[in-house]
Amino acid sequence: MKILLFGITKDIIGSSTLDYTVDQTDLTSESLLELLKEKYPELSKLRSIALAVNGEHANGTEVISDKDEVALIPPMSGG
């Protein structure tokens, strides 16, 4: 799975996508976010950090597979 990166998360991770292999069948979006925060501690220093799954803001309970489109969502600043 490629995790899409935008804004400041691209700078933190140093790439515009992040390869990630889902190796468990019950990985929730909340757990995935925790794993990413452990691997990239800078993410936790942001005002907020969240995931989108298949183009929807994740609520934490989504079960993630390699078929899903996942994106890291740092603090939004449109408008």
Binding site: F6, K45, L46, G55, M76, S77, G78, G79
Partner: protein
């Protein structure tokens, strides 16, 4: 009309035309433009990056909610992507409603919600550097 466009392509007049409605007496239009200063530092330009497919679907959700919640007939939202110089347009929101009060409420709801839910990120450029907005806690 729901779209992401280069700022130079954003045509306010055609966005307003897109919400005209014979049974609505009110159109409110919000235009967000690039200010030349921010907390004292001189902004030279902005750059907007979007998660485009999701941004469009979140903008569409806002338009749908505005129609239901404020009885709006037509809603258009166009947000800039890419570079935006001082004075250029970052976003245009246009809403038509039968009566005027709802048009203001609807437009304000739309811009407030856009800032909270639409995956668009703004990078500010100053004379001496740049940063992603809200990138610091």
């Amino acid at each position: 009309m729901i779209a992401l466009q280069e700022t130079k392509e954003i045509n306010t007049a055609s966005i307003i035309d897109s919400v005209k409605s014979d049974y609505c007496g009110a159109i409110d239009v919000f235009i967000g433009t690039v200010r030349d200063n921010l907390v004292g530092k001189k902004v030279t330009k902005l750059f907007f990056e979007a998660y485009e497919t999701m941004a469009v679907s979140e903008l569409q959700k806002i338009a749908d909610t505005v129609k239901e919640k404020f009885k709006a007939d037509k809603v258009s939202i166009v947000h800039a992507v890419g570079d935006c110089e001082v004075g250029e347009i970052a976003v245009v929101i246009a809403v038509s409603t039968p009566h005027r009060k709802a048009s203001f409420e609807a437009c304000e709801y739309a811009i407030d919600t856009l800032k909270e839910t639409v995956p668009i990120w703004k990078r500010e450029y100053f004379e001496d550097g740049s940063h992603w907005v809200f990138s610091h806690p």
